[in-house]
Symmetry: C2
Subunit: 578 residues, 2 copies
């Protein structure tokens, strides 16, 4: 079966749970934003995705991107779909009107990309990098560069890449060796090899804009010596630049997206932003890029869930406990079997809760851009800064493990390509690695964002979460109790980390996981405030959350406790002995 | 890198932890079994596996089994390796001497297959079915069938299949439709379509012996109407039988093993055992077959771990906390990073503990076959009956999730085929499904083996585990405490299940998982009794077990508690209202 966007469920989360209109109407550009327009737009997007993009998912996996003599040919239908996509104006959704964009909120772009990724992760990789390149150039490039490139990237007529990784420099960009030599005329010659470049070469668009991290001749070692450069595939005069695609990787999945090795042979480029400030220029779009990867996770899990749910409603095997089937086979639908019900409801809870957190975070990105009150903008930035690594890590992990659970619903048929579900599992695996591996996300959260100010900003963010809770409600009271526990454990790590500089590194994954679980719990407290919450559709995942998912929270906190106590004890012991 | 069996570590577990000699020397056929011979045999097996089987793993994935016009051609080198394998006598290891086998203990066969599966899961699928077919024919077939087939299966000159699944009959074999019509001369004509038949057609061996579940004309519906038949690929007169391979499946992985659709067109067959007792005839080898699948899990995880460990010892990225590298890159080896160390030590704990449980279980299978004391044989059967579903489910799940963790150590390189690690993840996924899905294993354990006698046999088995513990040792005391908790929770489910007939189905996975964790804990208490336990090699996984793995036990017991309390409450409420 093909994925079909369920826009009614997405809109319910957007309007009734996140109450997006209420937030967005406080922002000057969106004062007039009509709920009806939003609905129409999401529904139109859903139709386009279902009709044009979803049918190409299988061929993207089976034929995939093909490499020959430096050229990459995308799977049949990919180019036509991309041309239709940008000409319909979809990439321009959240780009500024002055650049030819539609100037709509980021949250709508995020919902669009959730659907695109669910429909066809491989195809979506190329346009998924546009918003980042657009933001980066908009905020850091010279007026001349902006004039030439912004409209083409806003419209999506041209596509873009991020060229960071090198064979010896993965998570550690300080090891980047690619060199940029100034030519005296303001231009640079870029030389080096970049790997894992998604969409580094393809035939989707007529030009490709590469953003390249490289090192100037006199720069210091490490990440402080990196600058950012723009190197187009075709120069303004139409000449092919000296960027060569050496090969594309054979991967576990995501065959629809070419993962390129790019060789820059004194390729002519322009600097973006200040020398030595390359990483900062790229990090401007980090929260948004990571949120997009989280949407890949939520989208892929939704696609896998739809398949498993459909199969569970048609396949019969064995008598289910407490059922008396009247089917001539004597067997019940597998959705009636508790083990299968548990899988379906548990993954549904992750998707529903994930949408609440992700859409709210996207709204906070809109608030951070446009709210008239600086304090509110700061709070929004704090929200995004703390929530984004959690969303990225937790929902990409869930995409892989959860779609594997959905595969299990199919039994042996799930392992066969024909069912289509194993593709989601293979595709999803990479999301746990790229855009900062999930371990890096956990370190980012705990070591860079929570601990440095003694969990101060973290405490303020918890207050933001609390402000959406209504303690007389038992479900809200339970969430509040858990948030208090979470805060106490952040404080405990903070204290213990003072005497043990490796402790937080050991516990970062547990801490991120605990935060993710509390956010999921909080999101269902928000869902509970809607009239639909009483229906079986929303009750089943709410119950699954409490029965099967939330028990992990106590486990994570116990791990944190045990390790923090050890650190205290070790530290006391050291003091006694010294 | 190619997988290389670490026979020294396997032998250490066998001899020092499981103390196999002590158990085996109580069995008449093995009184003279020499520890030195055992060691030589395992080392020889390791050399053969490393030199002949491991180098074919990649080609098995990339070229795989190919289907054309009803014929299956195995990947290049597969047939030659199989011919070398059986001619060297490896399949005959545990077969009886009267059938031409070597009459050695099952535990040695299990160790051989652990290595084979680690080296090349796809290739190993074919010989992995031999022992089951051999046992089934040995215990149930007529003398004429035994005479013709046993020596060929004992030696491995011919291979075998199990033909159970049909399109409508997966976990539910009661739905099998294949028909067997008696011909009056003692033979039968078998007609129907079987799917997911591993090694249903290939060019490894000169004949293939199919064991087929089918329904006699006058048989009752459901699983009680099933009988077992033997249908060879080539009849005794050399004629090709009417069994046709229609296609092989395109799968997520395991491309080295052809997964066949077999069509039986009035194919001539012989009955094995009594009419209507087909499932019983197949179930005789269930414990052994499931243990073999558990060895696939342990083997695949070991193969993934070896790759990740090697990579972590050569790849440098970033400064690790608490380290002062002198490497010119300024970056530490990734094995020094806590997040990576945690992955490696945690998966090591699963492998080491898994070996202890699996080898001990294999020894119990030997005891069940040969111990002079009937009570000891009964205890051994109880051990195998309870431990086998746990081993199958827990270690196939760990093979998939754990090899995915090992993939994470490689970062982006892990997602690329070249690294070789993603193949293990893809190959491992199917082990969670076949030979009874992991959900079926959990139901088998809790609903068929623990609950029916009010956890009586389960309590006796816990006593067996306790008899290997030495409470004055703190580690043993902790294991004892946990076993007591586990028993209390089995009793709690047992009680609550009386008033709620779906409860145990909901909790089966949690219960199996709790048992697996207690077994792992118990296995490390056994390891702790060896002199090597004090070395870093064995300390690191022992610590990882307590820090990162065992906290899940409290979570599983909390889930069981919460659900059992609800059941009690619901039942009380019902009683109050009625």
């Amino acid at each position: 079966m093909l994925f079909q966007p369920k826009t009614d469920e997405m809109l319910l989360v957007l309007s009734q749970v996140v109450r997006a209109s209420q937030h967005l109407q406080a922002l000057p550009p969106y004062r007039e934003l009509d709920a009806e327009l939003t609905q129409q737009l999401v529904e139109e997007a859903g139709k386009f995705v279902g009709a044009v993009i979803a049918p190409l998912n299988r061929i993207g996996d089976e034929i995939g991107a093909r490499f020959k003599d430096g050229q990459v040919t995308m799977a049949p239908g990919f180019r036509a779909a991309y041309q239709a996509f940008w000409q319909a104006g979809w990439p321009a959704l959240a780009a500024a009107t002055e650049d030819g964009g539609q100037g709509l909120p980021i949250v709508l772009e995020v919902m669009l990309f959730e659907m695109l990724n669910a429909a066809n992760h491989g195809w979506t990789m190329a346009p998924d990098l546009l918003h980042g390149a657009y933001e980066c150039i908009k905020h850091h490039a010279s007026d001349a560069l902006k004039k030439r490139y912004l409209p083409k990237l806003a419209s999506g007529e041209w596509l873009a890449t991020m060229c960071l990784t090198e064979p010896q420099a993965g998570s550690d960009l300080g090891l980047v060796k690619t060199r940029a030599v100034p030519q005296g005329d303001g231009s640079y010659q870029i030389s080096g090899t970049k790997i894992f470049i998604s969409g580094g070469e393809h035939d989707l668009s007529d030009n490709i804009v590469h953003l390249v991290l490289a090192r100037l001749p006199d720069s210091p070692p490490g990440s402080k010596g990196l600058s950012l450069f723009l190197v187009p595939k075709f120069m303004p005069d139409g000449a092919r630049s000296a960027v060569y695609c050496e090969r594309i990787e054979e991967k576990m999945g995501l065959h629809g997206s070419p993962t390129c090795v790019l060789r820059f042979e004194a390729a002519s480029g322009a600097i973006i932003g200040q020398p030595g400030r390359g990483l900062q220029a790229m990090f401007v779009m980090m929260n948004s890029a990571r949120l997009h990867v989280a949407m890949q996770g939520i989208g892929l899990l939704e696609a896998a869930w739809q398949k498993a749910d459909a199969y569970a409603q048609e396949r019969r095997q064995m008598r289910a406990p407490g059922r008396k089937t009247t089917d001539p086979s004597g067997a019940d639908l597998i959705k009636e079997h508790p083990a299968m019900r548990r899988i379906l409801d548990t993954q549904r809870a992750w998707i529903d809760g994930g949408r609440v957190i992700a859409y709210r975070t996207a709204v906070e990105l809109d608030i951070a851009r446009h709210h008239p009150d600086a304090a509110r903008r700061d709070a929004a930035l704090r929200w995004c800064s703390l929530t984004t690594p959690v969303l990225k890590a937790a929902f990409t992990q869930q995409a892989f493990y959860g779609s594997s659970e959905c595969l299990q619903v199919f039994g042996g048929h799930g392992y066969v390509r024909e069912s289509g579900i194993e593709q989601h599992v293979r595709d999803a695996r990479v999301t746990m690695i790229y855009e900062g591996s999930n371990e890096i996300q956990a370190i980012d959260l705990l070591l860079r964002k929570v601990l440095p100010d003694g969990a101060g900003a973290f405490g303020l963010w918890l207050d933001d979460l609390r402000s959406d809770l209504d303690p007389p409600q038992p479900i809200d009271a339970q969430v509040l109790t858990r948030l208090t526990e979470l805060q106490a454990h952040a404080d405990r790590i903070s204290l213990a980390a003072k005497s043990d500089d490796t402790l937080a590194h050991w516990l970062a994954d547990d801490f991120l996981r605990a935060v993710a679980l509390c956010l999921l719990d909080w999101s269902f407290a928000q869902i509970a405030k809607t009239p639909e919450a009483a229906t079986l559709r929303w009750q089943a995942p709410a119950q699954a959350l409490q029965r099967w998912i939330m028990p992990e929270l106590a486990m994570r906190l116990a791990i944190i406790n045990a390790a923090s106590c050890c650190a205290d004890a070790a530290s006391s012991a050291t003091k006694t002995h010294s």
